[in-house]
Symmetry: C2
Subunit: 145 residues, 2 copies
């Protein structure tokens, strides 16, 4: 049977002797509900409305990172962002249009297969990755033709 993401979080916390508290759930949900990775200030801002303290956010992120519940990604302007890792979120890549700035998710399959193939025989064992592709989306591309 399948556990809900929040049940999985509870299990993971228990396995480490940590407690499943309302504040930790609030941080988790803020990340789960966000359409994009969140910077620390953005995350603090969101959960502050639920009365979660700054220090608690920092401590929680550190634990989630150690538990591999979240991962860091680089936002456009050199700021570090946090997002849930699979299976807590779906695995995908991003295509960022340099003209109009829209970001669209790319299905992971074809890219991933290609990627792992390219490492064959290298002795490297890939366990995760992050891909951002920049260019022109269909609409902007046809505009310049």
């Amino acid at each position: 049977m399948e556990l809900s993401p929040e049940e999985q979080l509870k299990t993971l916390l228990r396995a480490r002797g940590l407690r499943f508290t309302p504040d930790r759930l609030r941080v988790f949900r803020a990340l789960a509900d966000a359409p994009q990775p969140l910077s620390v200030p953005a995350l603090i801002n969101i959960v502050a409305t639920d009365g979660v303290n700054q220090a608690t956010v920092y401590r929680t992120l550190e634990q989630f990172l150690a538990m591999a519940v979240v991962q860091t990604v680089l936002l456009h302007d050199g700021v570090v962002g946090y997002e849930l890792v699979p299976p807590f979120s779906s695995h995908h890549h991003h295509f960022i249009c340099l003209d109009c700035g829209t970001i669209q998710a790319l299905p992971a399959d074809s890219v991933d297969t290609a990627l792992f193939k390219s490492l064959e025989g290298s002795g490297l064992k890939a366990m995760g990755h992050k891909i951002d592709i920049y260019g022109q989306c269909e609409r902007c591309h046809s505009d310049t033709d």
Copy 2:
């Protein structure tokens, strides 16, 4: 004819009304000589031996970023690193070992070819990308066998 990377930097600076100074060249060389992206403290540490001031490093990085001479990448522990962009450095991707934290450059060719192939027929036109692969390097992988 081909200009050397340092001549190109000079030209780019001049084009913006900025000056080609010894300190800027030292920051540029530190980045060019580094086998990996450098965190700000690491970079400060390196050029400090040449007598470059902290504030100068921050100001120079900001300019290089605006000039698209450097780009930011995410280091293993959620720290932001800086590296030269092509044509100032060769185009490559990174393999980050989750065990020992070392970062190694991957030749771009095989990965890139695979990547562009995966976009065929999508209507998307890729112009640039950034790939980080996480996993175990050869040494750490054999340690756990």
